[in-house]
Amino acid sequence: MRKNSVLLVIIAMALTLAGCGGESSDASDSAGGTDDALVFTYDGTEIALDADAEGIISALGEPKNYTEEPSCAFEGLDKTYYYGGFYMTTYPSDNGDRVYSIWFADDSVQTADGIKIGDSQEKVEECYGADSASGESAYTLTSGEGRLTVIVEDGAVSSVSYELIVD
């Protein structure tokens, strides 16, 4: 009985080793499968979540401000670019920096559906439908690995953000 148990443990370990051929955790090369509503366009430059950031940053030109943060223990930096009307953050991946989030800083920029800071709640509901309400003051549109969140305060849009979904 004991002999069989020892053999079983060894066989199980060997089989598991052979069978788990290394789960790849590399970031995808794709833009995360987000639809057009979740692509933000600024001065003709399309910015999609999880897209390779290098070309986008080069097209957008010099940011008005830039900050970077190391993570607790990882190499590579989370970066935040400020382009006047909006902020964009990137995260480091094996394939270079990729777009992680975008959020509006003022009413000079708008979503693909024309929503900008200061717009009325009615306009948001016309665009995204009352069904998109999540909680008391937020409207969310989720597609693929991205999420657009519009926050309404006192009947007007106070925040618009795009974020890669990690949960």
Partner: protein
């Protein structure tokens, strides 16, 4: 005879697997040193009157040696990179099987993460989990910590086996092995001084950190559940739980979060100190006391933070001065020696 051969073969095979596992697991000696922190506790368990639990905002922001030298406070920082509250809870539970401190200090930034899935991108999240959990000794607390740290998907994939047999997780590192993997195959250097990971550089704080506004600032059900469990665990053991927000400028500590923690502390009769509000009083100079532009303190900042916080631990929490206890004093003098050697060495590297 046949049986003996079989047993010898099996024993050799298991020894071989153990050796291969020792070779391929990450060593965390020269890079990502945070991964070595959890395992360093066991050699220092016992006689610690204060235990810190939390993320990088504890293991980089407080110097236990300063607490000892200024107030005679014995402390250990059970911190690890992006330590979540469920990990903090189980690390504390495990700690209490070794010793019962007077005070537990919990850094509340971890409340921002409600579930394992919310803690970040999968590859990063998993690596952080490993750094906290892999060197934790086996116990029910470790088992529960792993379970709590896994997403539903990971549980379904039976990832627990990869924690029990890390070889299953790291076997594909064979082509990334470096000299470090061979040198530290069966031993480790100590990277911290009682859980404090010293940083020496100076990178001044420049611009205010901005973060994306949140749709909902309420702490999640799961994080509050573990905060309650931590409070209860401390109460059961007669330990004073002190909640702190360590002095780090990023990630942003939102006012809405601060309010919820203040309310929680009041409702539960706990002390809560947002040290960001006391930066001037502490004497933090964001031009000289941070090594990464305000995210964490360097050793000069960590000594200031410990000096300021030590007065509270001593005067308000009544943590005793142990400097007159010969055995303890002797041990801490040794730790202080190591600390200053490390400090000198890093200062020389910086020059």
């Amino acid at each position: 005879m046949k049986n003996i051969k079989l047993y010898i073969t099996a024993a050799l095979f298991i020894a071989l697997l153990a050796a291969v596992q020792a070779l391929v697991v990450p060593k965390y000696m020269s890079s990502s040193r945070e991964g070595a922190l959890t395992g360093e506790y066991y050699a220092n368990a016992g006689d610690n009157d204060v235990i810190f639990i939390g993320d990088c905002e504890v293991y980089e922001n407080f110097s236990p040696i300063t607490l000892w030298e200024e107030y005679g406070i014995t402390s250990y920082i059970r911190g690890s990179a992006q330590q979540t509250i469920w990990q903090s809870y189980y690390l504390l539970e495990e700690t209490l099987s070794y010793e019962t401190p007077e005070v537990v200090v919990f850094n509340v930034l971890a409340m921002k993460y409600d579930t394992p899935a919310s803690t970040g991108r999968p590859e990063q999240r998993e690596a952080y989990n490993r750094m906290t959990l892999d060197t934790m000794r086996w116990s029910k607390s470790k088992w529960d910590a792993i379970r709590a740290s896994m997403t539903d998907d990971e549980r379904e994939r039976e990832s627990m086996f990869t924690y029990i047999f890390p070889l299953l997780r790291y076997h594909d590192r064979w082509d990334q092995l470096t000299r470090e993997d061979f040198v530290y195959m069966f031993r480790r250097d100590t990277v911290s001084v009682n859980g404090y990971l010293m940083q020496m550089g100076v990178v001044p704080y420049a611009d205010e950190y901005v973060e994306m506004p949140l749709a909902d600032y309420s702490f999640g059900e799961n994080s509050l559940y573990y905060l309650d469990k931590t409070t209860d665990l401390c109460r059961e053991h007669g330990i004073e739980l002190v909640l702190i927000k360590a002095p780090s400028l990023s990630p942003v500590w939102w006012d809405e979060w601060d309010e919820q923690i203040s309310d929680y502390a009041e409702e539960n009769g706990l002390m809560y100190i947002n040290m960001l509000e006391h930066s001037d009083e502490i004497g933090i100079d964001w031009n000289t006391d941070t090594y990464d532009a305000g995210l964490h303190l360097n050793v000069y900042g960590a000594e200031k933070a410990a000096r300021w916080f030590g007065a509270i631990l001593s005067d308000e929490c009544g943590v005793p001065d142990r400097r007159d206890d010969g055995n303890i004093a002797e041990k801490w003098d040794e730790k202080a020696k190591t600390y200053y050697e490390q400090k000198r060495s890093l200062e020389n590297e910086e020059k």
